[in-house]
Symmetry: C2
Subunit: 232 residues, 2 copies
């Protein structure tokens, strides 16, 4: 890795608190790579040779079975993926592909495993990161089991709206077909779900969505901090 990249890597949460020696040992074998969009980075079932960190761009995690495919998560900077598999030295449960041109940090997973055995601060950082990942999936799972498609969309819109400054409009961060898959519905049904939300003040113009009646939308969505809050 170029020494110019070091400060950027060091500033990533996972690596901030670790000892200098551990950082060196990890950085030695790690490297940055920039990928064009729609490049498959890993396929589920492969052995976990690397831990990945998305530094720029966006990566889609997806899974397949029996001819079907679904989007599991979208990873934006700075986000890690495949941490659990790398730690366990197990196979990946999800595939990953870039959804934009992306700059990605790749760290051999054996170095990660060696590092946390020696460095308590790094182990603690990994535990925090893993716990966050775990809770994120639990929330997704709750959302899917406890809500209808329209409700999942409504809450997702409220989330993007929050993330983007609560100014009455938002940009969908992904393709509509990707969003549909992420929300666990067919693309056609996402279109229809948007129509269902029209009476609640939701209007769509391409990737831009206007929320004209926040109260009505929230009343339908019934957001729940134990599902929708990213920070806890």
């Amino acid at each position: 890795m170029r020494s110019a990249d070091l400060p950027e890597v060091r500033s990533i949460h996972l690596f901030q608190t670790m000892e200098e020696a551990t950082f060196d040992s990890i950085v030695k074998a790690a490297y940055f790579q920039t990928f064009p969009d729609h490049v498959v980075l890993i396929e589920e079932g492969d052995t976990a040779d690397f831990l990945y960190v998305v530094v720029e761009g966006c990566v889609e995690l997806f899974a397949s079975s029996n001819g079907r495919e679904t989007t599991m998560a979208m990873v934006s900077p700075i986000g890690t993926f495949i941490l659990a598999a790398a730690l366990k030295d197990a196979v990946y449960l999800m595939s990953a592909r870039t959804s934009q041109r992306s700059r990605i940090l790749m760290i051999p997973s054996e170095d990660i495993r060696a590092a946390f055995e020696k460095d308590t601060a790094f182990a603690a950082a990994i535990i925090r990161e893993l716990a966050n990942c775990y809770r994120a999936v639990v929330k997704e799972h709750k959302s899917l089991k406890l809500r209808t498609g329209v409700e999942r969309l409504a809450n997702r819109l409220l989330r993007y709206h929050n993330d983007q400054g609560c100014n009455g409009s938002l940009l969908l961060p992904h393709d509509k077909r990707t969003l549909a898959s992420l929300l666990g519905m067919a693309p056609e049904n996402l279109s229809r779900a948007f129509n269902t939300l029209k009476p609640y003040g939701v209007t769509v113009d391409g990737p831009r969505v206007y929320l004209g009646d926040l109260l009505a939308l929230e009343n339908l969505a019934k957001p729940n901090s134990l599902i929708d809050d990213r920070s806890m």
Copy 2:
């Protein structure tokens, strides 16, 4: 805690490799408690004061939102629950209640947090356990998004059949209504799903299920190691 209980606790995976001093510090404040069935142990939204370990019996993790409720997981011995919340000092994302009379080890979460900061072996054990929990939820999520209800049931039956010795029959480990909720379907639909599986050799007599044509059932279920294998 009674000193007679110590060897049993020490033998739990999470506590096997830790240093003696760390073990002492954790055990000091921990205690066993036996609960009757259908006792609510924790409610989602509460702050995570304890880490729980199911030593005997069975605990149901469930979640609610907007008047709906769903079973998230069943925890059998020896299994932990609410580890991520305890580590993060955050609120529980799931509620828990006993589904049988259960003996449960409760460890104050601040002691857990203090312990892994000092003891690398314990931190490593926590990381392993967390990674396993994470991967278990990912698998559940994949199952729900990639399979129909009948397919989820078929695969679940094959799993129980494996767990119980592959002798052509199995006992459902939980109520049918609980199983239905776990599989993400209404109890009525579980009944109908069993009927759908009749042509594939599945017959039901109360909690006992006979698999008369394993090949046919597997052909329908199309089990996938990246969803159904517990051990990886």
